[in-house]
Structures are given as C-alpha cells and as structure tokens.
Symmetry: C2
Subunit: 145 residues, 2 copies
C-alpha cells in the first residue's frame, strides 16, 4: 500500500448513553471539545488522536452491527502516560475529583512501571502510567522503536 494510506488510528469513539453528562465529565477532566462538536457528537482533540463521544445505539447502527447492552468489562482500555510517578498520582487525584471511579490506586507494577486505573462514569477504562523504559517526546508521545 502507498505510504499515504499507512495504517493509523485517527479517532477512538466511546459509545455513550448520556452524552451531555459524559461531555461534562471529560471537560471537567481537562479535555476541550472541538468547535465541530454538537449535541449529537463530541470531539476532543488530544494531539495525536481524537476522542469522540457518540450515542452507543447510533454507533452500532453506523457500523451496521447488532446493538447489545454495554455493561461491565469491554476488553478495551486507553492509557494516558505521564513523565514520572508524581504526575501519575496527580492525574489520578484529579480524575477522582472530576468524578471518575478509581479502580486501582497507582502502584509499582510487574512490567517495571507505575500505574493506576480509573473508570469514567460509563465504565470506559483509563490507565494512567509512567513507563521508565519508554520515554515520551516533546509532545508527550511514546518513543517506541
């Protein structure tokens, strides 16, 4: 395939039940809704990737798959990487104050990093991690080779 269509992820969309509430949660967390957001869909531009919120039933319809109730573990997580352990603690504290549910308080973990998990109000899982083995660039992106 030509370089121009090299694989990438531009958007991750969370299907949501309560869009206004979820928008408010993420704005409280510090995300800024793009001006193209409206009462049907919300976009947060996170530098390298866009987080979108869209009605969970309409998302299933758009993909032409059967809608099923969403509850519990979905088998997908996102990670927010920090420069050091203190930042992980700060982010987790900020998330808790913003209404997130703390699933796992930050601690040193088996792979050599320091990480915790929170869930947003509709149970999307976020890991907050410092990985001493993989540095971040100036834009906060992981320098993976």
């Amino acid at each position: 395939m030509a370089d121009v269509v090299k694989p990438r992820i531009n958007i991750i969309t969370f299907g949501v039940k309560n869009l206004p509430m979820m928008r408010e949660f993420y704005e409280g967390l510090g995300l800024h809704a793009a001006s193209t957001s409206n009462d049907q869909i919300v976009f947060f531009n996170l530098s390298g990737v866009v987080l979108a919120l869209f009605d969970h039933q309409r998302l299933a319809e758009d993909a032409e798959v059967q809608h099923e109730p969403m509850q519990g573990y979905r088998g997908v997580t996102v990670a927010w990487n920090a420069h050091n352990q203190q930042q992980v603690d700060e982010i987790m504290g900020h998330a808790a104050k913003s209404g997130a549910k703390i699933l796992k308080a930050p601690k040193e973990v088996f792979w050599g990093g320091y990480s915790g998990y929170f869930a947003d109000p509709e149970n999307n899982l976020w890991e907050v991690a410092h990985n001493p083995l993989i540095p971040l660039d100036d834009e906060g992106r992981l320098l993976l080779s």
Copy 2:
C-alpha cells in the same frame, strides 16, 4: 493542571484471546510491531498513538476489574481516516484481503462523509472514512479546531 500533564491518549489496548493470531492479522494489515513487543504484549506505533494487544483476562486483572466474556458489540470503535474516497475503497479492499470481516461497504453517509466498517478477527470495529469537512495534516492527523 500543568501543561505537562494535559490529557492525552498514548495507547489503545485491545484485550485479545489469541495474541499470535491477532498479531499476524495486524501485521498483514500493514502495521509494524515495535521491537519492545514480545509473546505477552504487542505494540504497534501509529505515529500519534500506540495500538497494543494484550491478553483480555490479564488486562482485566491489571485494571482490577472483574473479567467478563467479550463477544459482540463493545461500544468502542476506532477510525482510520483517508484523504479521499478512493483511498477508503483501497483500505477496505486491503482489509478484506487481510482477513477482516467487512461489516459495511463504503458509502456516502449522513454526516457528509464516505465511510465503511470492518471487524478484526476478534470483533474490534474499525471505521475507514473520508471526511471532506475535516482535513488531514502532513502526518495524517485530523485538523480539528
């Protein structure tokens, strides 16, 4: 919060049942596994964000949530944006040849774009889209304001 911890998504992790098979699928699709990948976890660096594959049960354990079987619709999708309609068709054709299940053949859609959906072998949903309203920058990132 200080700028240095501004919200971002560094990694999207798909919990998987069959890691070698899923790695092979994504490599066939054109993704390159980072050298830090091993038989426990695979990382694909997609410029702005990293796609990781990790065992679905261990992912639940890591998040300290109860594991539940994954099947059907998970309420989460990722999108791969192309520069034009022809590229969308090319990517969807390439995905089909790589073993993806085509859920929705590309077509013009209600929001003014052109998009299709495929599922990877464990039913993670990918939208392939051209959005004439939101240009892509030189790195292929959406220019959202």
